[in-house]
Amino acid sequence: MTAAAHDDEQQHALVKRADDEREDIFKRYELGLDPSNVVDSWENPTFEIYHITDKYGFMHDSRLPSTRDSQEVQRTKIELERDKKWMKMIAHWPPHPEKLHKRVYKGIPDRIRWPAWKRLLHVEESMAQNEGVYSRMLLLAKKYSTETRQIDADVNRQFRDNLAYRERYSVKQCSLFNVLNAYSIFNSELGYCQGMACVAGVLLLYMQEEEAFWALNTLITDKKYGMHGLFIEGFPKLTRFIDHHDRILSKIMRKLHKHFIKHNVDALLYAIKWFFVVFVERVPFSLSLRVWDIFLLDGDRVIVAMAVTILYLHKDELLRLKDMDAIIEYLQVKLHKNFGYNDDDAIQALERVMKKLKDLKLDAPPPAKVNEFPTRTLGHFVEADLEKKIGRRRNDYTDTEKQVITDVISRQEQNAIEVQSTVSYETSECATGDAYSMKTYQSITSLATSPAISSYSLYSNGFVVTNFDINNQTSRSRSQSVHNLNYQQQQSQLSQQSQPPSFAIYNEHSLQNGLMRHSFGGDSDSRNRLDVALEALQSQKLQLQHENNTHIIRIVQNCSSDVTGKQPNNHANNDDDEDALSEENTRL
């Protein structure tokens, strides 16, 4: 065949194709709405995914608002400005720490998260130093990983409500599968633990496969994040952090702590997921990203502080819930759907709590033990033993596991003892003379809206109103009634150190009686509340009044002048709070 004839034939074929296509399209229009006319679902505006998917790719139960309100428009404008600043900053890395701090706390713009997170997690350095390692690990995993079945089960259900992970064996699902398998070989001591799929899943929303692998490695092995200790057998870091969390609660949120103990709400139950996946799927995704930004900058103490922040912001609502079921539902489900505070306000509260914890020297848990870090060389291939290979369950607990069981059970028993104490606490003056309770200013349930709206953070209600009584008379009666309580002596050293001298006497006295408050003297709670409040005053308007030896402190963010004119007193201030807040609300 000549070249000309060949060209001719090709042309002919192209013409034929065009003809067929035209005919086919015409046929479709002729069929019109006839049911035999097959239409792909995305061709109609009713295709729900268009309407229910947020900017992070998550699909919601109901449609998102179709128009953006003025706040949203404003936010977009601000974010565009921030994009530019961040681009510059990333080009001149590392930036001045103060500048970086300020900008990260404001939130890394979503488009910048890819380069910014990589910088914060030293991804490019790791990749440069470990060329070829990832693909080698992946090859080894294909041959030897013992975690494949578990990883497969978890990939199959991780973020399936996100477009990226929605389809089985989609690009992101495959990447997630690969990263986790490769990592189980790279850090063979750790292998794979449920929770890691979520962490890697978030990273992969912003990174390429190999980048996510090294980012995950930084989170797991870098001392700053130390997630190895969370996921390793026996969960040594989890127990260390939970203990610390309890310590903080018993110090600065004593009432809530008692409430939790009374209703059998163990921190192990609600905080495990908070700590393991850094609040993903426990607060709205947009807020968890903000927490991640800060976590990547400042490390694991952010986790401690965020846990406290959540409880602090929702304390009143939690105190109103009278059974374990409702409390757990609130912490595990409700807050994920609607946090009740917009992201900026929540993060501002987090920043204040971090500062407060630092002042109280509670920001960092006790130092890690060696078992929280890898002892084997990373990337050094170790073939698994037979039991692991065939996935057989060991017949007995390992020593580490036995230790965990002992710890957990003694913890339960301790709580059981405290429940009994709480009962007597409630009948004592401590609880009934309740000048300590914060005025509930707004029910979260009244804010309940569709999850779509909450993830857009349309609400701004971040103000705090506190009143409390540090009248000496009251504190004495409080201390007295504490003697009714059958608390175990615990942390006495700590409480001796951190209490003001006048309370040390009370401690000595109670020690002689063999009785000791759980952790801190009757007044440390109110003192710490005061500290928290005072700290908030620095950044917010306030009015402070002295009346009959009672301090009433009111803090209203952006407080209007009408409020300042009021003269609250100890009994009437509830109403005043309400007024102040309703004014505030109408302004928002």
């Binding site: 633990c193 979520c198 495990i272 057989r392 580490t400």
Partner: protein, 219 residues
Amino acid sequence: MATTPRSGGASGAAQRPNGTSQNKSCQFKLVLLGESAVGKSSLVLRFVKGQFHEYQESTIGAAFLTQTICIEDTVVKFEIWDTAGQERYHSLAPMYYRGAQAAIVVYDIQNQDSFQRAKTWVKELHKQASPNIVIALAGNKADLSNIRVVEFDEAKQYAEENGLLFMETSAKTGMNVNDIFLAIAKKLPKNDGANNQGAGAGRRLNENETNRQTNNCCK
């Protein structure tokens, strides 16, 4: 043995202020155990909320839910502890099954390993949990029985030999889900003046709780 105040407690007919007696009500702690991805959370979700999610997120640590049912003249409230299935979380399990009056050990009928693991859980419960614990074995994913690996008779025989309740369930279709909880509730002791401390008896609800609970069951 020591129990937390939530578990155990007397049961009996509650007296209304006017002296008339009403339905008895009991509260039982129930724990779900079994290998990862066999459908523990899905069974609970079906039982408590009547829902099924094809892609139920993996349980980190444990979840806690409650559901109330009525059998005969008794209101039974289940406090359900749904545990994480991965071996790694095994060491946290005693925290959940301790003081439990009932357990559902779940396996996947398509997965022989998960059945073996269920047996290990049963062994551990017999050894470590309360002696009176009522154990049910659930062969889940029964809607996929055409690709089953674990035979019904094999599991049934094992259950009989070990004194377990046994049902094949499907969280997806709802098959036998309520039934297995109901069967457990029937088997649990609800008699008056039961041992206060032991794990054998459910905790009596107080008047308020009872009234509230009565409203959302016996529909």
